[in-house]
């Protein structure tokens, strides 16, 4: 689908220049230097020849077809070039030029004109304002980054071109190889979703790495990501995590940063491996692109120094991996091959004077055990250590165990430099410190366990009354409101099968009394005002009223309190609700995230909720398992499950309520915010009740 982007049969460089240092010159030079075998056409009306190639005044003068156009001319003339590209039936334009949406109002206008021209002709755009694109298999370097990356199995996709060039330079020093390397620029057309889909099918790519500041089309991203992670791992570094960072992102991209929590949930739910640092990004990529896929996290550690061995052990447990057990027969063999002072348990200490032979024996023996999935080999430079020979030995052993993992930590500097280079060349990931090695493996394990749980996502079938909800929303919109009255929100809940206690709105004292008589005592009175969010705080809630007199008196008191504490609030009246027995207080909340849609929260409610924050999150739509997992992830689950004198709660009814809430916010995208607080949960078999519901619509 995006073949012309990565494997074009011919490339035109528009803006090709004879002056070195100009983008139009450097890009052309890069293409030629990269060993590209297709046809290259420099385009520049002011030159006859550039870098030894015939130069054409315009795209339309090129006699043969042009698959890809790389544009390095000033922004104002790009639209004209795009028109010509359309006529010439160019398939994709890589627009390196800046000065578009990132520049301001004028730039934004140029960009939207560019987009409509290309859409008209069916031309795809990468950029504008991007680094370009590099494919090490083709090979082609159609970017202004001067170096060609080492060939490898990692695809790197960056939202920032500048980060890209820096990473490229670094990768050459570190010996990290790439299959494809590109930056997205302003994402005027092609975005991370398109490229991810393409890379999922690319046989040259084993791991997809991304640096993102924001995501276009969150709901498409969720679907695409879910599809792609089934095929290969995706590791994403997303910036703008902190408030200050988010503000920086807004400045950089001109869009609202989007809640980082929602990103976290989105990534977890789609199996994306999220990292917090650039270092982790490449650490993890190294292991994912060179080692067999690890699902069973049993690791053995072989070390010639005790201290680092313990550090590695700690790291392994901290990261949720397991220290592989050393079975009796493996132990026996080790005791034969290693000196008596060596440690035969995991971590296996081969002692400071270990030679290549000793390392080889230990490694072979341990890898031969079915209990061991992978080994972390640690080497420290002692007096008699021969690092290169040991590295060699490790490489030889690896050949015999293609289905086991080997990673190394050659802890040192100058003394180990040559040996480390040997390892790097051969695709055994080496980490300067054991913690980094372990942390990378654990990311792999997490991805593995996600894959285990990914089944067909079956959404539950629930009977609901959509028309009732639609008519309630219609009335609210006609009233020019966005906040539903409590009675309206209850109506919506009931329509979707969420149980609520009997409640009606009273506008006068007499009405309140007659409703109370009808519903039956005891009753609760609650002020109805969209502007009053914390009713209890202002004396707007009266509980446990048992007579006409109490209802009457408290009705007035509530309105007086409302007048006093919120004089500007619109008062619709007072709700009279049947008072129900106390249950366990839980919360279900929904916030429509601007990127990913409805983010559902479940957790412990009550007055301590703001401090304890015992909550879990998922993005809708939810499966039954999602809802069950949400509940079991909270600490409150231990209470709900029933412990000691606490009886078991009706977890099934909570699951049902969560699922129905999910269905409601998925089917009605005008719902921006929804809060069920509190949700009273009773003992098993007795269900749950939504006592107070707030809904805000668009």
């Amino acid at each position: 689908m995006l073949e012309p982007l990565f494997k074009p049969s011919s490339v035109a460089v528009i803006g090709a220049s004879r002056k070195a240092g100009k983008v139009g010159h450097d890009v052309l030079e890069n293409i030629l230097k990269s060993g590209y075998r297709g046809k290259v056409y420099p385009i520049n009306p002011k030159a006859q020849e550039v870098l030894g190639l015939k130069c054409y005044p315009s795209l339309l003068d090129v006699p043969e077809k042009v698959d890809m156009g790389v544009i390095a001319v000033p922004a104002p003339i790009v639209s004209k070039i795009a028109e010509e590209a359309g006529e010439k039936r160019v398939k994709v334009l890589v627009i390196i030029s800046a000065g578009f949406k990132e520049r301001g109002i004028e730039g934004a206008r140029l960009e939207s004109r560019l987009v409509s021209i290309c859409k008209k002709h069916g031309v795809r755009i990468l950029g504008p304002n991007c680094l370009g694109v590099i494919d090490t298999s083709t090979p082609i370097n159609a970017s202004f980054a001067s170096a060609m990356p080492i060939k490898g199995k990692i695809a790197f996709l960056s939202q920032s071109g500048a980060l890209g060039t820096a990473v490229l330079d670094w990768s050459l020093k570190e010996g990290v190889g790439f299959s494809k390397f590109l930056s997205l620029g302003n994402k005027a057309d092609l975005n991370e979703n398109d490229v991810m889909l393409e890379l999922a099918e690319d046989n040259d790519t084993k791991v997809i790495l991304m640096y993102l500041e924001g995501v276009e089309d969150g709901s498409r991203f969720l679907k695409v990501a879910q599809e792609v992670t089934r095929k290969k791992p995706v590791v994403i570094l997303k910036s703008g995590v902190t408030d200050a960072g988010a503000r920086a992102v807004s400045s950089h991209t001109g869009t609202m940063a989007g809640s980082d929590l929602a990103f976290d949930v989105a990534f977890k739910q789609t199996g994306i491996i999220r990292v917090d640092t650039t270092q982790e990004l490449f650490d993890i990529a190294e292991v994912l692109s060179t080692q067999p896929f690890l699902k069973d996290p049993n690791l053995a550690v072989i070390t010639n120094a005790g201290g680092p061995g313990i550090l590695a052990t700690d790291a392994i447990e901290k990261h949720g991996l397991k220290m592989a057990p050393i079975s009796a027969d493996v132990r026996k063999v080790l005791m034969e091959k290693l000196p008596p002072a060596a440690s035969f348990n995991n971590p296996i200490d081969v002692l400071g004077d270990a030679t290549a032979e000793r390392y080889k024996s230990a490694l072979e023996t341990v890898l031969g055990s079915k209990d061991v999935a992978g080994v972390l080999v640690i080497l420290t430079p002692q007096a008699m250590t021969q690092p290169e020979k040991i590295a060699d030995a490790i490489l030889k052993v690896k050949k015999g165990f293609p289905n086991k993992i080997i990673v190394t930590t050659f802890l040192g500097g100058d003394l180990l430099e040559k040996a480390i280079k040997l390892l790097e060349k051969s695709e055994i990931p080496n980490y300067p410190f054991p913690e980094r090695a372990v942390s990378s493996l654990s990311a792999m394990a997490r991805y593995g366990s996600y894959l285990d749980t990914v089944a067909k996502r079956q959404l539950p079938r629930l009977k609901v009354d959509r028309d009732k909800v639609a008519s309630i929303f219609k009335r609210v919109k006609e009233d020019k409101r966005v906040n539903l009255l409590a009675s309206e929100a209850m109506g919506v809940a009931e329509a979707y099968g969420i149980s609520t206690p009997n409640m009606r709105l009273a506008t006068t004292r007499e009405e309140a009394v007659s409703i109370a008589e009808e519903i039956g005592y005891p009753v609760v009175l609650k002020v109805e005002s969209p502007q009053i969010l914390h009713k209890t705080d202002i004396g707007g809630v009266k509980l446990n009223l048992n007579s006409r007199e109490e209802v009457s008196r408290n009705f007035n008191e509530i309105l007086n309190n409302a007048n006093r504490y919120a004089p500007k609030a619109a008062l619709h009246g007072v709700n009279v609700q049947k008072m129900v027995p106390q249950g366990k207080e839980m919360i279900i909340g929904v916030h429509r995230d601007i990127t990913f849609g409805p983010l559902i929260m479940f957790g412990l409610g009550g007055i301590y909720v703001n401090f304890l924050r015992d909550v879990s999150f998922r993005l809708a739509p939810l499966t039954k398992k999602d809802a069950e997992d949400m509940i079991s992830e909270t600490k409150a689950y231990f209470l709900l499950r029933g412990i000691r004198r606490e009886e078991k709660s009706d977890i099934e009814s909570m699951v049902n309520t969560i699922l129905r809430t999910s269905k409601l916010v998925t089917e009605f995208d005008e719902i921006n915010e929804l809060d069920i607080n509190p949700l009273f949960v009773y003992t098993e078999g007795s269900g749950c009740l939504a006592l107070d519901i707030k809904i805000t619509i668009k």
Binding site: A246, V482, P530, A570
Partner: protein, 360 residues
């Protein structure tokens, strides 16, 4: 004094919606075929014209809508302002009264009935003997009291004003309860209205609040607070029904902003995150404080969405204080609002009874 029947529309407090009522009644009576005139004896300085003369905007509105021939200084001959004592104690009160009656004679020539608009309350002009009751007695007016309802004490205040006017020997047509919030209309109809009637007050209309009439436009706010326009110049006619302050984290901001429509959001010029959150929701304008220019990309977005962005040099508190002072006025160019004023009177005021009373 001329015997043309006149309706003297008064109020007991500022911003009761008196002008909209005058406008609505005038247009309705004109529609019924009457030659309607308008006069505002005592105006309040709201602006100065190109010659530096103070004038009253309500009088200006009515002059244009009714196409009055008389000059604006005749339509509204006496203009007071917040420090009027020095200027006005130069002459004896009789000087102003004569000026008023002379102007009235000119304004009422050839008219079937006159709508006279009173000042912001019944006391205004008393120290110059040109308060509504005094003038009204002289020209045989029929006083119509326009009042809002804040709480049940407002009912008492109306009864008191009624009594005061009666004691001065001036005729009363009745009262209009104006700009009543939707959720208390039933209560006003069922409780306040009968209470007033029992106290001898004739209720001629219960007019529900109309946000469109009451809300200022972005332009009115911009003029009032002296803001610079950074984007969205074509959309200054957006109505502003609410003011919100943006000072929280962007995530909380989004939830908070979603709960309000047609709002102006006031925040620091450097808070791109808050500004973008506001632009994600239904927003009439962004008011940025501290003279801090926002990010270019925010302006692009705002312009694209038709949301004006205003910049002021002072801080948030000052910005809020100034915006609270702005209420919506009807401009003679505002066709929609004018039509709406007429509709409100048509639907909710017993204008036929008024005509009957005036015995036109």
């Amino acid at each position: 004094m001329s015997k043309i029947p006149n309706l003297y529309v008064c109020s007991n407090a500022s911003f009761s919606g008196k002008t909209a009522i005058c406008l609505g009644l005038a247009l309705k009576f004109r529609e019924e075929g009457y030659k309607v005139g308008y006069f505002k004896p005592v105006g309040w300085e709201m602006a100065r014209d190109e010659n530096g003369l103070a004038f009253d905007r309500d009088a200006e509105l009515m002059k244009h809508v009714l196409n009055l021939e008389a000059r604006l200084e005749v339509v509204s001959p006496v203009i007071l302002h917040s420090r009027f004592l020095e200027d006005f104690l130069k002459h004896k009160p009789i000087h102003y009264a004569e000026k008023i009656f002379k102007a009235y004679a000119e304004c009422s020539k050839g008219k079937d009935l006159m709508i006279i608009e009173g000042p912001q309350d019944l006391g205004c002009g008393s120290c110059l003997d040109i308060d509504p009751a005094t003038i009204g007695k002289k020209i045989d007016s029929n006083i119509l009291l326009v009042s809002r309802i804040i709480d049940d004490n407002s009912i008492c205040q109306i009864v008191r004003e009624y009594d005061c006017v009666k004691k001065r020997g001036v005729k009363l047509v009745g009262t209009i309860l104006n700009d009543i919030p939707k959720m208390i209309i039933e209560r006003v109809k069922n409780l306040s209205h009968p209470t007033l009637e029992k106290n001898g007050v004739n209720v001629l209309g219960i007019v529900p609040e109309n946000i469109a009439l009451r809300s200022p436009t972005v332009r009115e706010i911009q003029e009032r607070i002296g803001a610079k326009i950074l984007a969205g110049e074509k959309n200054l006619d957006n109505l502003v029904e609410d003011f919100l302050i943006g000072a929280m984290t962007p995530e909380s901001a989004l939830t908070y902003f979603r709960r309000s429509v047609n709002k102006a959001v006031i925040t620091g010029g450097d808070r791109s995150d808050i500004q973008l959150a506001a632009l994600e929701t239904n927003t009439s304008a962004l008011i940025l404080t501290g003279n801090l220019y926002p990010d270019a990309r925010v302006l692009v977005r705002a312009e694209h969405q038709g949301v004006p962005v205003l910049l002021v040099p002072y801080d948030t508190y000052a910005a809020v204080s100034k915006t609270e002072e702005v209420t919506g006025r009807i401009k003679y160019s505002d066709e929609k609002k004018i039509k709406l004023a007429k509709k409100m009177v048509e639907e909710h005021v017993k204008w036929k009874d008024v005509l009957k009373f005036l015995a036109v």
